[in-house]
């Protein structure tokens, strides 16, 4: 006699879920093994009882289809918008912003978001971990308010962010090293553009300059893991395409310059550079990933669809901010729109300002200055 079967195999046999040959062997065994036969009967009874309890009266499919049709017809403009890449107008405000300085205090609650953004909103940039300098090499930033309730939910996700990638992001070209240089003119020679210099409120006692070279990064997403993250976050209306994990995402970073000045009671840092080139695996649309990111941040589907269609995802960074933050304002820097964030971190007052001019972005962060002095300095960056 062949060996006895466990409950799982017997149940699979009952459900017709075994290959024909295996099933035949099992049936031969059952014919000669009273013990397995008894268990098989018990399993069948158990399955039937469960089926009876879980039975649902069949739905009226045509009626349900009619109702859905009506709903779709009524919402057609929004739905069509969400299914095409055609830009749509939206009441959602798109404003530029941000800096490394404000990012750091937010890292605690934003860890989950950062992971999401790494993957979904601006994959290559965020994925290169702490190289925050690179994060801001984008032409536009969309500021998405996130409620504290949503932040809480995202914080409580039990998710290992390491699993998001099949292998750690790797550099395939150029140099990601931050090189210290002696002066801005030396930096200019290396990066190929003339970095602007701010007018300082008081003479600096120290000035440091650094250059991040051109570099190419590659990483490959583990799509199943990314889907799990979305599931954990309760985002059910997004399907990440298999293609997302089929080939590496490639990010080509342009050079950027950072300068840090410290003087009597103040410290400022100015970063400037141009946007990266991002290449996604064939069949992956940035807009789709952007939609996922917006949904992850708690935006309602319709609003997220409209905004996702509106944004040029290849040049835009989505940046989450607490919905109840009250220290944000839009300012003008030399005629360009900018976003000013001011606050306190560990008792220290700071400002951060993000703006852009042409293809160049600027992030100025500082502490120890009044807002007026800080804005004046920003104005001087030409």
């Amino acid at each position: 006699m062949t060996r006895c079967y466990d409950d799982g195999a017997l149940r699979a046999g009952l459900d017709g879920e075994l290959p024909a040959e295996t099933l035949r062997t099992q049936q031969e065994h059952l014919a000669v093994c009273p013990e397995c036969r008894t268990r098989c009967t018990e399993l069948k009874t158990l399955a039937d009882q469960t089926a009876l309890l879980l039975h649902a009266a069949p739905p009226d499919v045509p009626v349900a289809l009619t109702a859905l049709r009506r709903h779709i017809d009524r919402e057609r403009p929004a739905l069509v918008g969400s299914r095409s890449s055609h830009p749509r107008s939206s009441s959602q405000r798109s404003v530029p912003m941000t800096s490394t300085r404000i990012w750091r205090p937010w890292m605690g609650w934003a860890a989950a978001l950062a992971v999401v953004l790494a993957l979904l909103a601006f994959p290559p940039v965020r994925a290169i971990a702490d190289q925050l300098l690179n994060v801001f090499r984008v032409q536009n930033v969309v500021f998405v308010p996130v409620t504290s309730e949503r932040m809480e939910q995202l914080q409580q996700l039990n998710f290992d962010e390491q699993t998001l990638f099949i292998a750690p992001p790797k550099q395939t070209g150029g140099s990601s090293e931050v090189r210290t240089v002696a002066s801005l003119s030396e930096a200019a020679a290396l990066v190929g553009f003339a970095p602007a210099q701010p007018a300082l409120p008081r003479p600096a006692s120290s000035a440091e300059f650094a250059v991040t070279d051109r570099a190419t990064f590659e990483f490959q997403v583990n799509v199943e893991s990314a889907r799990e993250l979305l599931r954990l976050a309760g985002v059910s209306d997004v399907t990440l395409p298999d293609a997302l994990g089929a080939a590496p995402i490639i990010a080509e970073m342009s050079p950027a310059v950072s300068a840090r000045y410290a003087g009597d009671g103040y410290e400022v840092m100015l970063m400037q550079g141009v946007s990266p080139q991002v290449t996604l695996p064939a069949g992956v649309e940035m807009q789709q990933l952007g939609y996922a990111a917006l949904r992850m941040l708690g935006m309602e589907p319709r609003q997220a669809a409209a905004l996702a269609a509106q944004i040029d995802w290849r040049t835009t960074l989505v940046f989450p901010f607490p919905a109840d933050i009250n220290s944000l304002r839009q300012v003008s820097v030399g005629g360009s729109p900018g976003l000013l964030v001011s606050g306190q971190h560990q008792g220290e007052r700071y400002q951060s300002l993000y703006w852009q001019r042409s293809e160049r972005f600027y992030v100025l962060s500082g502490s120890g200055l009044t807002v007026e002095a800080f804005l004046t300095m920003a104005e001087s960056v030409r």
């Binding site: 699979a12 349900a64 289809l65 109702a67 299914r83």
Partner: protein, 192 residues
Amino acid sequence: MAAHESDGALLERLRGGDEAAFEQLFVRHYATVYRVLYGLTGKREAAEDAAQETFLTLYRRPPSPNQPLRPWLCRVALNTARNTLRSERRDAARIERVAHTPVAEDPSEAAERAEERDQVRSVLATLPQRQAHLLLLRHAGLSYAEVAAVLDLAPGSIGTLLTRAERAFAEAYVRHRSAGTEDQLPGKQVQP
């Protein structure tokens, strides 16, 4: 006889904006999605709402034609229901409810059925979520491979896990019924 068009082919057409393809997919899969949701919510109206949201998602953002559709729909459905239950925000205007034709029914029989439905739902809620979902998906007609795809399990483990889940469900149901009977006794005494 017209050839049966695969889900993948219909998805391909849907992605190209073919509404007839959507209707075919709806007719093909609505009952399964509804059954899962009905098991989860215990309420016809809630199941219909969540099923509509699920198919609206399919309409708006259809998955890749290579992706098995039924597991995808069920996954969306489970998440939709979970969100709805969690947030307890039911925006009546969001989705148009299905218009019901009243069904003639013996009131005492209907009450009994409603009570049983509530009990089943309460018992399912006591099980680990994955176990409850496993039961609902399998008893809505998904194959082992499909159940495995929805729940990220190995297809080879489904038989064992299903048996375990059904035992847990049966035991919890018996416990629940006996506890319910005891609880109800004092209540029955005050009835006129």
